[in-house]
Symmetry: C2
């Protein structure tokens, strides 16, 4: 493989996570090791920044700031949900790449983003422009195929399990067989996050909270739910319910859908928790229902992040650069679990085309017969992903996060016209 000399461009896309910046840190740290890489640029706001030639010089950032990315939530480069629509958009991307001699493109994102990366790569090949494109997985939803899990998932689940344990202490003190606590968690099309709440249970304590988990994978049945809650309240001081936002009924409709959809055509959800609260309060006399809806807090909670997750996000960034240097392109880094009892994780590669627009569902066989709890197969899968705590530095009582200088790269092209 001939050495490809040129510049790196990194972009972040889709919803932020607690660890997406750790992947940027991994890319920058690794890129600095390779002489064939001349400049390390970041695209502001994903593909939007590429179209608009809004690039920053990541090598100009201080090492402290790059290191601080390893515990900083959000997406330090900015992100977008913009979908490249027209052929001319893709051509503009390539124009920008050529103008800045971008030869290595690393795109950190979920399904849609890997699709975008794939299309950019294909167009470069058609045009005979030598470009190596490697995707880096990212999504709290854990729904990318092939990779064992996705960076971002471990942290959101650690936050959720931590929160459930804390809420349980509160409810244990307050409940008198009449308290239903509902926690609505994210997860549009799969129940990975809701399932992860099961990690709050102690080993061999199946009656620990959360008592009921309602997943998008299991069509929601109101009568059964009310029966479930009544059964728990007979046994426990309180009933803790975790519900995924994407809960659907037997007809496949969201139990609480909003009319709005996002720019990818996904329904914007919200309200499954409110729906359950109403259901329980209306139908079980004397019950007090309490709803917690952490919303975006859960994916931003770096202070409660998983060290395993943050380290793997960094590793995925490093591996992307290493693969590209070796001549790989049109692939996404995957996380590959070792098959020993002791958890180990290495990286692999998978074709972007196989990742793009794929969805990994929570296996039905990891959900118990009752449809409201997870079995040992799930716990064995998820437990290693939340191990270790990210050390976030505090100053004056609040966490301190990276703030990039974002030194702009000079524009050389005419302005982008959408």
């Amino acid at each position: 493989m001939a050495e490809l000399v040129g510049n790196v461009l990194v972009g972040q896309s889709g919803g932020p996570t607690a660890v997406i910046n750790a992947s940027v840190a991994g890319i920058v740290a690794e890129a600095l090791n390779h002489e064939c890489i001349e400049e390390i640029y970041g695209a502001l706001n994903g593909v939007l920044g590429i179209l608009q030639e809004d690039l920053i010089d990541l090598a100009a950032e201080s090492q402290q700031q790059i290191r601080a990315l390893r515990h900083t939530p959000g997406a330090a480069l900015g992100t977008c949900r913009y979908k490249l629509k027209k052929q001319s958009d893709y051509e503009r991307v390539l124009e920008v790449f050529k103008a800045h001699n971008i030869r290595y493109f690393f795109y950190i994102g979920g399904n849609d983003s890997q699709d975008t990366a794939d299309k950019i790569s294909k167009l470069a090949q058609q045009q005979g422009y030598e470009l190596r494109v490697i995707g880096v997985p990212k999504t709290i939803d854990n729904d990318l195929p092939i990779t064992d899990h996705t960076p971002g998932y471990g942290s959101v689940v650690k936050y959720t399990a931590t929160t459930i344990r804390e809420l349980a202490c509160d409810h244990e003190a307050m409940g008198q067989g009449d308290l239903v606590s509902i926690v609505e968690v994210m997860g549009r099309s799969a129940g990975w996050i809701a399932a992860g709440a099961a990690l709050a249970k102690r080993r061999d304590h199946p009656h620990d909270p959360p008592h009921l988990i309602y997943l998008p994978e299991i069509p929601f049945d109101q009568a059964k739910c009310l029966e479930d809650v009544r059964r728990v309240l007979k046994r426990e001081k309180f009933c803790m319910v975790v519900v995924g936002e994407g809960l659907i009924d037997a007809d496949g409709n969201y139990v609480a859908a909003d009319a709005a959809t996002d720019s990818f055509g996904h329904a914007q959800l919200g309200g499954a928790g409110d729906f359950l609260k109403e259901l329980v309060e209306t139908n079980i006399p004397g019950v007090k229902a309490r709803l917690a809806k952490p919303g975006i807090i859960q994916r931003a909670a770096a202070h409660a992040g998983s060290k395993t997750d943050a380290d793997e996000a960094f590793l995925a960034g490093q591996a992307a650069v290493q693969a590209a240097i070796k001549g790989e392109t049109d692939k996404m880094v995957t996380l590959v679990r070792g098959d020993t009892d002791h958890y180990t994780c290495e990286t692999g590669l998978a074709p972007l085309a196989e990742i793009a627009n794929g969805v990994k569902k929570l296996p039905r066989e990891w959900i118990n017969e009752d449809g409201t709890s997870m079995n040992f197969q799930f716990l064995r899968y998820a437990q290693p992903l939340i191990q270790g705590e990210v050390a976030v530095p505090f100053e004056s009582g609040v966490p301190v996060f990276a703030r990039l200088d974002k030194v702009r790269v000079d524009k050389t092209l005419p302005a982008f016209v959408a």
Copy 2:
């Protein structure tokens, strides 16, 4: 002062906090130092447990568990919102005290609880039963009079400020001048918690998030709110709004009230955040509003607790015992701030009657002219209360909290009939 030999009873009351158990730990640790104290009992579920003679032997708990109370949220003894109503209830309390030779009663709670403690104390005096009653302050609401602040407040505010900083990282990546993020925080009658969100701002960065804080102290004006939000969105990528649940309109009505009231006659709130979300989305075209409603998560978030707060809660428990041993009764421990620039905190005492049912409002002069931000006087007051991080031990990726054995004290009285 003649030495009073007898037993201790500790109770917890009202809504739990992240540090109410630290006060129990302080009481137990201090009580063990005094020979005149023979047994150390805990009342399960506050006055309810006293009425029902449900007492546990706190001296039988392991030292590890008592120490673990210093980082355990909830209320380890259980709590209640039960209000003693009839004279016969108070007489029953005293009967239980006599049956178990309770000579020292420590009640950890807010306004209503201190009122209860006061009435128990008065009845004991009337009956010539020697009893020393010392209240220990507790409430996330920070609304008790006389004491500089209340244990529980620092932790809820540290959690809130931490969360705002993290959300800001996420929104900074996503916002394009069209994102309004609403965080609804607790605070029934005063805006102390909402105000505390201002601690997320860096010093001398008044434009840092949260951009707008709506407090129950300032009558809510819809037109002004919409103007506020529009102004921020012109300047920033996103507008972060913190709203207290007890928001009221110019007529003094809750902007989003529920019909229900709790057993003390307080309105059960909720919905101020939903109200704002609706208001903004309906009136500002193209704006996306996101609501986070951490609910009880915020007061249970021990993993994000303030060390200063937890230490002061422990100190207040110790001070209660020391005061009672010295012969004090019918008082509540207060936190007294030193008048030097460097923050110091000692304990004092104030008559229960002056605490009971009093409410400390957020001073109007600590709120800026605009009514939506806090000035340096508030920041100088609140900043010291969130310093330091509580070290919560993690096992298998989740925090581990105290679990008391709760060895029951034998009952000697006929069952309580309400």
